[in-house]
């Protein structure tokens, strides 16, 4: 056994300190080289560009009306083409990204774990010296970065369009608002990404996971408001005869319930961030507030005032992400490695 003696020094072996980074690097490379990435990039670019193109007229109008006023640049993102509306949905850039972000999140995550299972690579992967959550964390980060790239190119495309074709030069405060809005949008994507990951852990077939994800997106993003209103209307109806104080209370309740939807959270926060003249997201709760709101002089909020308004929204979005993530994580830890 002399050979054994020679070849057995106490092993001083490197264990990678951040396995999630290795996973993320590999997944990211996979994403940006994938067909899925390019298709989404092109489709989103077109889908965001065309309505914007159609809205050129209105933005021109606005620009000449309020020339010298603030936030014309941001109008690029919040003004949709007149008379162009699909199912009554918001087709401004902002509204469009609010619709597309969930899809992106799901598209980049629905096959994350079940795909590894199907390929038979999962046992090999978890037998490497990384923590099991590194797998999920790495995939989450890689997808988030890839989506950030997609959305960033869309936003830059639009900004470039505004700069070059419309000749609108953004003020610094607008750029700042845009950046904050973008970060908030990424947080919103995070919610759906975490949800997609959860699906990929729980649902063993990628195709099924994609369908469920798509279905939930449809339900929440397109019909969520409608469905909730319907339910609320049945449970706590507001009619003409309702005392006005009570009615206001009910409206308050409705607003709260609607805010359970990430879509509502996002669209409210997004509007406030992109539109400095919006001074609140709340429906007035008391008569006093109502009259106050009516008497209000139109003002423009500074960025930190807007931030203060949307802070709870951002916290709620992050909390939703964490919840989805935690459930997916726990499930993944409990699952058998074998399918």
């Amino acid at each position: 056994m002399t050979a054994v003696e020679a070849a057995a020094p106490p092993p001083a072996r490197s264990v990678p300190r951040s396995g999630w980074l290795v996973v993320a690097a590999k997944e990211f490379a996979d994403h940006v080289l994938s067909v899925r990435f390019f298709v989404l990039l092109i489709v989103l670019g077109l889908a965001a560009g065309i309505p914007l193109f159609l809205a050129t007229e209105r933005i021109h109008e606005l620009a000449s009306q309020v020339s010298g006023a603030q936030a014309v640049f941001l109008a690029l993102f919040i003004i949709g083409p007149q008379d162009v509306s699909i199912f009554g949905l918001d087709v401004s850039v902002q509204g469009f990204i609010g619709l597309a972000a969930p899809l992106l999140g799901i598209a980049f995550a629905f096959d994350a774990v079940n795909g590894e299972r199907a390929q038979g690579t999962l046992p090999r992967l978890v037998a490497q010296p990384i923590h099991r959550d590194d797998v999920i964390n790495g995939k989450f980060v890689a997808s988030l970065v890839a989506i950030t790239l997609v959305l960033l190119s869309v936003v830059l495309l639009i900004s470039g369009f505004g700069l070059l074709r419309l000749g609108i030069v953004p003020a610094w405060s607008e750029v700042l608002r845009l950046i904050v809005w973008f970060v908030m949008t990424i947080a919103y994507v995070g919610v759906w990404l975490a949800f997609g990951l959860l699906l990929s852990v729980v649902v063993h077939r990628a195709a099924t996971a994609a369908l469920i994800g798509f279905g939930v997106w449809m339900a929440v993003a397109m019909f969520g408001r409608f469905l909730l209103n319907l339910i609320l209307g049945a449970i706590a109806p507001v009619s003409d005869s309702t005392a006005i104080d009570r009615a206001l209370g009910l409206y308050q309740l409705h607003a709260f319930v609607l805010r359970l939807l990430p879509t509502t959270l996002y669209s409210e926060a997004s509007s406030v961030l992109l539109n400095p003249s919006l001074t609140g997201t709340n429906t007035p709760a008391t008569l006093g507030q109502l009259s106050q709101a009516q008497q209000q002089i139109p003002t423009l909020l500074s960025l930190d005032q807007s931030l203060l308004l949307v802070w709870p929204h951002v916290v709620a979005l992050v909390a939703l992400t964490v919840i989805c993530f935690a459930i997916g994580y726990i499930q993944f830890m409990r699952q058998e490695v074998r399918a």
């Binding site: 054994v4 990678p16 690097a25 590999k26 038979g120 046992p123 090999r124």
Partner: protein, 343 residues
């Protein structure tokens, strides 16, 4: 360096239940450093489950596993850094090349750059895939994937190799090469190997010790010859071959002569001229006596003896005997029992 430190793998009372089903039933096992250990067992016997528990990939219902003296559940990273694992149905990322797949594994093990590339080249060479390393993994044949899986387990330069059916889907010459590779790894680097297999001749040819599994229980453990004594009813086999032409005329003399040797219990005549006669010998240790008696007799009677040898008891027979003894042979449990149902 004899038995310094802990044995590489120890299982004590290791148990895994899936609901009602007991997949592994209080397994006690201890592997020695630098040995090749074979796990045998029918489909569903619990081999893969045992392996997963040793790797910390499945939590035992009861009992403990220790790998290199470490708890695979609590010290998962250190255990996994030292253990190379080939899963039973290994898969790779189809859109990456074989080499890229291995590179990912190397990175996950903290290997980078030159060091990683060196190990990848070496591992690809060891499994005979050097020429296809840059092809996409989804263009590989089943056996090539299996070879890549073995290369993948070797990347981290493991102290312990755990291979779940390593030779599945590999061609016969490839099998010989792989088994030789395992022997070399043991000899040169002192690697300890735990492998599971259905192919008994392979296990017999490469394993120092074997464990026979049935319905989650270890029903036999030891070297092949130890198991032969334990399950072989203490019989051995001697094969005698006579010159083809002479054998025909002397056939009537050969039979009684062989049967007349005291320790020979049963004589199976040659199936054709020039084929071996098979003698069953009791006790098993009497093989040498019988051989000498045959030699002497053949010289005396002028029988044209061309070959004589004691044949090893085949693991096949031992395995069947062990399963029969445990009442778990498929014939015995066809109608009832979990093993029959799974198979």
């Amino acid at each position: 360096m004899t038995e310094i430190g802990e044995p590489p793998i120890v299982a004590a009372g290791l148990t895994k239940r899936y609901g009602e089903l007991v997949a592994v039933d209080s397994l006690d096992l201890e592997l020695r450093r630098g040995e090749i250990f074979g796990l045998l067992g029918q489909n569903g016997a619990g081999k893969t489950t045992t392996i997963l528990m040793l790797l910390g990939l499945t939590e035992p219902t009861a009992g403990t596993a220790r790998v290199m003296g470490l708890d695979p559940a609590r010290d998962a990273l250190r255990v996994k850094r030292q253990v190379g694992y080939l899963p039973d149905s290994v898969g790779f990322y189809g859109d990456l090349t074989g080499r890229q797949n291995l590179r990912y594994t190397a990175r996950l093990n903290g290997l980078r750059g030159e060091e990683a590339e060196g190990r990848i080249d070496e591992a690809l060479g060891q499994v005979g895939l050097s020429h296809r390393g840059d092809g996409r993994a989804d263009t590989y044949s089943r056996g090539m994937l299996q070879r890549l899986g073995i290369a993948d387990a070797l990347i981290k330069d493991p102290d312990i190799l755990i291979l779940d059916e390593p030779t599945a889907a590999i061609d016969p010459i490839g099998v010989v090469e792989i088994l030789q590779l395992l022997r070399d790894l043991v000899r040169e680097r002192g690697v300890t190997v735990l492998l599971s297999s259905h192919l008994l001749t392979q296990v017999q040819s490469v394993c120092d010790r074997v464990g026979i599994f049935a319905a989650g229980r270890l029903i036999g453990l030891g070297t092949v010859s130890e198991l032969a004594t334990r399950f072989g009813n203490d019989t051995g086999q001697v094969e005698v071959t006579f010159d083809g032409e002479q054998a025909t005329e002397a056939a009537e003399r050969i039979g009684p002569f062989l049967a007349g040797i005291p320790q020979v219990e049963h004589v199976e005549p040659a199936s054709a001229p020039g084929a071996p006669w098979r003698l069953q010998v009791r006790p098993a240790s009497a093989g040498r006596l019988v051989r000498e008696a045959v030699l002497a007799g053949a010289a005396r009677d002028g029988l044209g003896l061309t070959a004589i040898r004691s044949s090893e008891p085949s693991l096949d027979d031992i395995y069947r005997a062990a399963l029969l003894e445990a009442g778990l042979h498929r014939d015995a449990v066809e109608s009832a029992g979990p093993v029959g149902a799974v198979a």
